[in-house]
Symmetry: C2
Subunit: 395 residues, 2 copies
Amino acid sequence: MSLLSKQVAHYLERASWIRKMFESGNELKQKYGAENVFDFSLGNPDLPPPAEIKSAMKDLAGRLEQPMSLGYMPNAGLPSARKALAEYLSREQKIRLEASDVIITCGAAGGLNALFRAVFEAGDEVVCPAPYFVEYGFYAENFQGRLVPVKSRPLTFELDLDAIEEAVNSKTRVVLINSPNNPSGRVYSADELKVLIDIIEKKNQELGRPIFLVVDEPYRFLTYDEISVPSLMAMYDHTIVVSSFSKSLSMAGERVGYVAVSPKIPDNQELLNGITLTNRILGFVNAPVIGQILMEKAINVTVDTNIYVQRREAMADVLDQAGIEFSMPGGGFYFFPRAPGGDDQAFTRSLFEENVLAVPGTGFGYPGYVRLAFCVSRDTIDRSGPAIKRAVQRM
Amino acid sequence: MSLLSKQVAHYLERASWIRKMFESGNELKQKYGAENVFDFSLGNPDLPPPAEIKSAMKDLAGRLEQPMSLGYMPNAGLPSARKALAEYLSREQKIRLEASDVIITCGAAGGLNALFRAVFEAGDEVVCPAPYFVEYGFYAENFQGRLVPVKSRPLTFELDLDAIEEAVNSKTRVVLINSPNNPSGRVYSADELKVLIDIIEKKNQELGRPIFLVVDEPYRFLTYDEISVPSLMAMYDHTIVVSSFSKSLSMAGERVGYVAVSPKIPDNQELLNGITLTNRILGFVNAPVIGQILMEKAINVTVDTNIYVQRREAMADVLDQAGIEFSMPGGGFYFFPRAPGGDDQAFTRSLFEENVLAVPGTGFGYPGYVRLAFCVSRDTIDRSGPAIKRAVQRM
C-alpha cells in the first residue's frame, strides 16, 4: 500500500515519463559528453545575474552583524522592497500602485498557490489558453480547483475566443493568461485581450460576481521586434498580476516573485490580507529575505537581453534549415514548432536519437508540437543544426 | 460579498485580535520609544548569524558570474547541501541517513505543508500535544486535514499519554511532536516518548497501517542544564523529522529547513519522491538557493547559545521576583508561565498596561498561561522586572 495520498501517487505515476526522459538525458551526457548533447529541454536561464546583484550581495554580507539582518519581516515582504516593486509596477501596468497593493512571494509559483488558496471554493475552475505551463493544473488541484484548458489556434497560438466564451461558466473563478506564453512564445495582442475582457465582463454581469483575470508574465522583460505586452491592470478592474524575477535577474533558484492586486478592485485590501495570510500558512511565511534585498537593488535592470535576440535568430535559422514549421516567438526563450508528421512524442524520440533533448507538446496540453528552450549557448544552437535536420529526415 | 473563500475569510476574522495586538504594540513603541516597551511577543531571533554565514556569502558573491549560480536545481535541493545535511542528521538521529533521505525545504513550515499535501486524504487527523504552535492547525486544514490537540499536564507540560491514547483513532495519519516545545519550552523525555511510541505501535497493529511520528525540532540546538533531545528516528521506524535552520543560524527570513524521512520506512523513496513533487507543485519549487549554500557552509555551527543561557536565568529571576509560577524551559527561548488569577487574556492586558508585550496561551490552545519570548536583549529583560511586578499586583 502506498504511503502517499491517492492523488499524489497518481501524479507520480503520470510524471514518471518526464523523470525517465530527464534521466535518459543525463545518461546521454555521461556517455557522449555534455558538449555533444543539445539540451533544449530546460527553462533554466544560463546568463549570470546582473552586476547589481553581485554588489548588493557584497553590501549585505557587510551588514550581517546588524540584529535580525536575515530575520523574519512582515509576511508580505520588506517594506522598502514592496515600495520599489509598486513603483516598478506602476510604470509597467500604467496605473498607480502603492506598496500595500503588492505582496512579495516565493516566485510566481508560490504567488499563484497563495492566491488560489485564498479565493477557491471546492470545484472552482481556472480557464486557461493551451498550450500552458503544466504546473497550473497542479496549483489548481492543490486547493480542490480544476484547470480548464482551451486550445489556441494552431501554429499562431492566437486565442480561440469563441471556445473561451464557451468554457467560462458559473464555476469559473479565474481566467489565467501567461504572456509571453511558455511554451509558445506568443504575446497576446491588446485587440484579442479586449475581446477576452468583453467576454469576462458579460459573464460577470450574468453571474453577479467578478471573475479574476490573472496574468502571469515572468517573460515580460524579454520581447522581440518591438512587441510590447499589454498592461492588463489598465484594461480590466479585477486584474491580478503574478510574476517573478527568476528570468529577468537569472535567479530562479532563489524564488522571488510577487502578487499585485489591482487597486481598482473594491476592497482590494481584504484580498491582500487574505493572500498574505495564505502565503504564511502555506509555509512560505515570507519570500526569502536575501532574494528580496537583491531584487530591490536590481529591480530596474535585467540580464543582457541582446544575447537572447541573437540566439532566437540562430534557432530560427536552424529550424528553417531543417524544414520545420514554426511561429517566431514574440517573447520568452522558447520555440514551439510543429512536429514533422504531427506526432510530438515520436519526433521527440527521433530528436533524442540525435542527442537533441526537447519536450513534447503533450506535456503542455498541446500535442503535435515540441518545446525547444533557447536559454543555451549560441554555440550549442549552431552545432545542433545537422542533428535536428537528420531527426526530421528520419520522420 | 467577500472575494475570499469562506474558510480564509473566517481565518482573517479569527486572527484579527493578533493583528490588533501587533498594531497596538507598534503604537506603544511610537508613543514611548522602542526602548521603553518590553516586547516579549515575537520569536524572531535577534542574534546575528554566525561568522561562517558572512564568509560564505562573500564567497558566493565572488562566484555569481558562473552560469546558473542562482539557477534552478533538483527540486529536493543542492546535492552537496543534501549530503552535508544527511551527515549532520546521521549524528543527531543516531541512524545512518543518505542524501537521498532528505529534502531541503522552505523552512519547517514549508516542509510540513509539503508532507501533509503528499500523504493526506480528506479528513485525516494530526494528533498533537497542546500547547502547540498555532500554525499547525492551518497546515492541516490547507489539505482538508484536521488538528486534534491533546492538553499536556498543567505547568510541567508532560504528555498526557492516556488522553493521547484516546485521541488516536482510525483517522489519525500523523502524531506531531514539537520538542523543545514552542511555547512551553518542554523537552519531552525518552521515557514518555517510549510510552507514546507503544501507543502508536499498538494502534498501527489494529489499523493495519503505520501512523507517522513527525518531529518538528528547530530548537534542538538550544537546550539547557545538559538536557538532550531524544533521537526519535532510532526509536520508531515511521519517523519523519521536519526542522529548520531559522533559529540555529539566525536566518529565519531566508527560509531554509528540511524534511528527513527515516530510511527504516519500507519504500521510503516513494514517500520522498512524493514530497519532492508536492514541494514543487505547492510553488516552493526548491528551497532558496542562497540559503542552501549558506546553510551547507555553516551546518556545524550555531549562534552563540551562551547568550540565551544567561537571558533564561535573568528572565527566571524576573518571574520569580514577580511571584509568577512557571516551569523552567528545558530548551528554546520561551517561558510559558501561569497567568496570575488564571485568565491569560486579562493578564496580557495588564502586562500591556505596563508596556510589556506577551502572547496569551489561548493562541496556543492552552488558556491560563502566557508566552514570553526571551530572544531580546539582556537589558530589556532586566529592566522589565518592575513593570511585570506591577502587572501582577494589578491582577
